[in-house]
Amino acid sequence: MELLPTIWFIAIAVLWTGYLFLEGFDLGVGMLMKLFARNNTERRVLLNTIGPVWDGNEVWLLTAAGATFAAFPLWYASLFSALYLPLLVVLVALIFRAVAFEYRGKVDTDSWRARWDWAIALGSFLAAFGVGATLALTTTGLPLNANGDREGGPLAWFSWYAVLGGLAVVCFSLLHALAFLALKTDGDVRHRARSWFIRLLPVLLLPLAGWAVSVQVLAGKPWTLAAVAVAVAAAAAAWFMACNGSEGRAFAALGAFLVLGSASIFGAVFPVVLPSTLSPEFNLTISNASSSDYTLGLMSIVAAVGLPLVIAYQAWTYWVFRRRVSAADIPEAHSFLPAVAAKAFTTKG
């Protein structure tokens, strides 16, 4: 048993799970901008629930990628190069999404806002789908040769698992966002979110459950099978709690579903980090893909201090912005400036 690579495998699983948990609801809120919100005020309600936190949530993705690079460079190199085009889509989606959050309110016209709303919704959708596909493929395998490079051209990564994983994260994010909105908003948005949550839960959790079960079929272990069972129970609990109006508990139970589902997937594939569909000999595992014990030891010390600190101050952020947002709180959009419009470059001084 290799202790440090195992610890780092767990750490990376934790980082990805943290990413899906946190950015899960803000990706979902992004998609709901188009699917759920009925007018500009509601869209601003949605945006302001995630406004202070989405950027911090996204850093979980950067940290997961960075930690993979540092702890398992061969995993990082093979996965990212094999999925070149899908990750390009994720990058462009994340770029537009980030910029859209910040720029949407900066010009007071409907067409400007509409354009950025699409950027937020589509960007969130594509990012969620791409990340889901990437994670699914790292658990089900890619056509990698002995050097860890993809064989078979730019689209050789495609398999139905990619679609399943993509849908899993998209659907989970939508549901998670509904739970989040029920918890973080008030008024009509809150009640609609809760009733959507209750109605859609069984459908929206299917792809993620399907992915978890597929992985169990491919490489299940007793404890991971048990985790899947408990996850299903957590999902049922989330549903009942939402029906009873306990929004906080419903959100927590759905979070437990994600954590358990994710644990069952990562746990099942362990110690393989990226299977090769060409030959099991070419599988990347925690032993043949990892960095040296020295590097992993150093990173362990830093992460042992750093990660709890991150969790602490991010939790504090959620505490600071714990109040519910409602349509009644949204002020008019500001317009400014005609009085001081400048003509510096167009007329003579």
Binding site: L94, I95, S291, P331, H334, A341, A342, A344
Partner: protein
């Protein structure tokens, strides 16, 4: 172009672009934090206005740095998988630590700052900004540690053909990084200085054009008031103070870059002598610094290059600190590099079509020679302009000339140019290596890597070209959007960042309620729940 060339163009374009946003983020963040600290200490309205206005521009720019930064982190694995495999053990750690210890801090505390104007106590709110700024400094440190390891690998042993970290202290206190970090931070401050100077000049000029400010017989400013929100006497104070802060920051940072740059240069003459010889287009050993060289700088053949104007002794001073020691030129270094690292790339499939080709040890001298000079030239120009600006505005405002105003505004670009040129110089000057050999590393196997071996073998030229085109197009589009927004908010002046000034009478003790419409039935101000940044 083959895959390698496309991947290099992509890395170059995305990095230079990313590094337009980053120095402004670092420099302006620091300046805004100082402004808010002044407001916190003195309670003066003009410091609040400065914080809000420059803070708004800071945020418009910050998000672009965030968005383009993700590309940087993914790109190593996507386009440079062989590089990632080779260096991951030592290079991945600073990247992971950057995310864990810097990005989290930056993004979380900036979120608190943007939205927390009402939720947090003023002192804590201010602390959040400072923490975010310190996070950005840490981020700069970690990424430069990573880059410096490519320039000057230390703290590793070769095990099974890969460098494995054995001494983290050596990696994180690499002398290359210790001089590059302050140099880069000073460069970032220069960008912020120029930015403040240019924009503040524009506003002072506009106040004169609109007849709000006038000058008396002695040339001293007489600040006035216009009956328009935000264009009062305090507005004048905001701009003249911003201008002076900008000018002082620009001058200090230029002195700082010169000082640290000198240290860095002396180190580079030891660590990467070919880069520095190429920076000089110095073919033969000598002591003279070339002021102007002509000829075919792009050729690997030095015979075409003629130094038209040369100052004897200066090159020796830059490299060694005296005026007589001969500095090795390209020709004598070439023999040495060939002897140490071979004349041809090995016949290894990792080099693709380039296997067995002759190695070009001389970087593209057009780029290194002019990159080096543009870096120094733009930096110096900005510092000189800042000095002149301080003198010209000593009586409290700027001249009425629109042309001087335009010059000041376009001058904002000079420090950006200096930063870009410096990075292009140092990265192109490292070629043909992606990890340059460390000349002190005798004893261990030579730790170095040719760029030709670094690109992803499984990724096709078509994929790379697709991403190059897509990213370049997206970046160009977003640059237009960012600049348009910046211009809009700059022209809008203080009210663009403080709409409350336009919607309600100014009350120094309390911010006005935006829009004036409280939540129905609550009786509370509308922004009680959130500051509504979105």
């Amino acid at each position: 172009m083959d895959a390698l060339e496309i991947a290099r163009w992509q890395f170059g374009i995305t990095t230079v672009y990313h590094f337009m946003m980053v120095p402004l983020t670092i420099g302006l963040g620091l300046v805004v934090a100082i402004m808010q600290t002044m407001w916190h200490r003195t309670g003066k309205q003009e410091y609040l206005r400065m914080t809000k206005f420059w803070g708004k521009l800071f945020l418009i720019n910050f998000i672009m740095g965030v968005a383009t930064g993700i590309v940087q982190e993914f790109q190593f694995g996507m386009a440079w998988s062989e590089y990632s495999r080779f260096v991951g053990d030592v290079f991945g750690a600073p990247l992971a630590l950057e995310a864990l210890l810097a990005f989290f801090v930056e993004s979380t505390f900036l979120g608190l700052w943007i939205f927390g104007w009402k939720q947090l106590k003023p002192g804590i709110h201010l602390a959040c900004l400072w923490i975010a700024v310190v996070g950005s400094l840490f981020s700069a440190y970690f990424i430069i540690v990573a880059n410096s390891w490519m320039q000057h690998p230390v703290g590793v042993e070769m095990i099974n053909g890969r460098p494995v970290m054995t001494d983290a202290w050596a990696v994180f206190t690499n002398n290359t990084a210790l001089v590059a970090v302050p140099h880069t931070l000073m460069g970032a401050l220069a960008v912020a200085g120029g930015f403040l100077l240019g924009i503040a000049w524009y506003h002072l000029w506009r106040r004169r054009r609109d007849g709000i400010d006038t000058v008396d017989a002695n040339g001293n400013v007489v600040p006035g008031e216009a009956g328009i929100p935000g264009r009062d006497r305090a507005d004048h104070t905001v701009w003249i103070r911003s201008l002076r802060i900008g000018a002082v920051v620009a001058m200090i940072s230029f002195a700082g870059t010169a000082l640290t740059g000198d240290l860095q240069g002396k180190l580079m003459f030891e660590q990467q002598p070919m880069k520095m010889a190429a920076a000089e287009a110095a073919c033969h050993d000598g002591t003279g610094f070339s002021v102007l060289s002509i000829g075919n700088l792009g050729s690997q053949n030095c015979d075409d290059i003629v130094a038209l104007i040369e100052v004897p002794g200066i090159l020796s001073f830059l490299a060694k600190g005296d005026f007589t020691t001969e500095v090795q030129g390209v020709n004598s270094l070439l023999g040495q590099y060939k002897a140490d690292y071979g004349t041809h790339l090995p016949d290894n499939p990792i080099y693709g079509e380039r296997a067995g080709q002759e190695i070009q040890y001389v970087p593209v001298m057009e780029v290194t020679y002019w990159g080096f000079r543009m870096m120094i030239g733009f930096g110096g120009l900005a510092a000189l302009a800042a000095l002149v600006a301080l003198w010209v505005t000593r009586k409290g405002t700027v001249p009425a000339s629109p042309w001087l105003m335009r010059l000041a505004v376009f001058g904002i670009l000079a420090p950006f140019g200096a930063n870009a040129a410096g990075w292009i110089f140092t990265e192109m000057g490292r070629q043909p290596f992606v990890v340059a050999p460390n000349p002190d590393l005798n004893g261990i196997d030579q730790v170095f890597m040719f760029t030709a071996a670094a690109v992803s073998p499984g990724v096709s030229a078509g994929e790379l070209l697709t991403s190059l085109v897509v990213l370049t197009t997206v970046y160009a589009l977003l640059l237009v959007v960012e600049v348009k927004l910046l211009v809009k908010y700059i022209r809008g002046g203080i009210v663009s960042a403080m709409p409350e000034l336009a919607h309600a009478p100014v009350d120094e003790n309390e911010d006005a309620t935006p829009g004036g419409n409280g939540g129905p039935g609550t009786g509370k101000p509308a922004d009680d729940v959130l500051a509504f940044a979105y």
